[in-house]
Symmetry: C2
Subunit: 115 residues, 2 copies
DNA sequence: CAGCTATATAGCTCCTGAGTTATGTTCGGC
DNA sequence: GCCGAACATAACTCAGGAGCTATATAGCTG
């Protein structure tokens, strides 16, 4: 529930891969195992962690379990990042101003700021 | 540099506290130690990790070192989250539609969607 | 220069967490 | 009703990382 747990859960590389795979479409445990280069129990363990963090849900079909992403908890990360957006925007603006000063008119037709 | 390292660095609770403290203003190591309930070497170690991830910078003043946030690496987290924004927006819309259906006109003057 | 302050580094301990193998459970097919 | 497929759980190992104490380094102060 806390932003901390979401951060910690998403810090694990294989879990991020799982979430990215499930973003495209729901998948069975077997499909994830095939994509991940770790054992099936390891994948089940990651799915357990992800489920208890509310980041995935599952649907049963016979012996198969289809997992899908539940993105809402990621919103907490987004909210946590909010105060920093202004800071990196400023950093980029400062960088740009610096480039404008040092390189002068060399880049007249250049594309405008990416935010 | 990779989004993975940024995730892992920010997963540590004390490091997140440090970054949040430095968001307000630059601080010395001693100030951070006073706020954190861990030893001074532990704080220095966290600062080292944060510095090598590009998340903080330091300025020397006599024996003191003032640390400040460098927010740019956090932008990678923001970018990573991007594809999921549409998903949680949809989840919230679905929830709202559901509430509208089940509770009908009970909440006529209610505040509008928060995004 | 002696001693104090502020911070970094070294060396160590300890616990957590990610991985493994082995086994349990559930379900469909024959 | 049995066997195999699909997944979860149990029990264990092992490495890394976060913490600590002790010590080194750098700079002010008197």
């Amino acid at each position: 529930m806390a932003v901390g747990s979401t951060f910690e859960v998403m810090a694990e590389p294989n879990r991020r891969v799982i979430v990215e795979l499930l973003r495209e479409r729901e998948r069975t445990v077997g499909e994830l195992v095939g994509a991940l280069d770790v054992s099936q129990p390891a994948v089940s363990k990651h799915l357990r962690v992800l489920r208890s963090a509310g980041l995935v849900e599952s649907r049963v079909d016979a012996q198969r379990r289809y997992y899908r992403v539940q993105a809402l908890p990621l919103r907490e990360l987004d909210a946590w990042l909010e105060p920093y957006r202004a800071m990196w925007t400023k950093s980029l603006d400062d960088l740009e101003r610096h480039l404008d000063q040092t390189q002068g008119g060399k880049r007249a037709g250049r594309a405008r700021k990416a935010r």
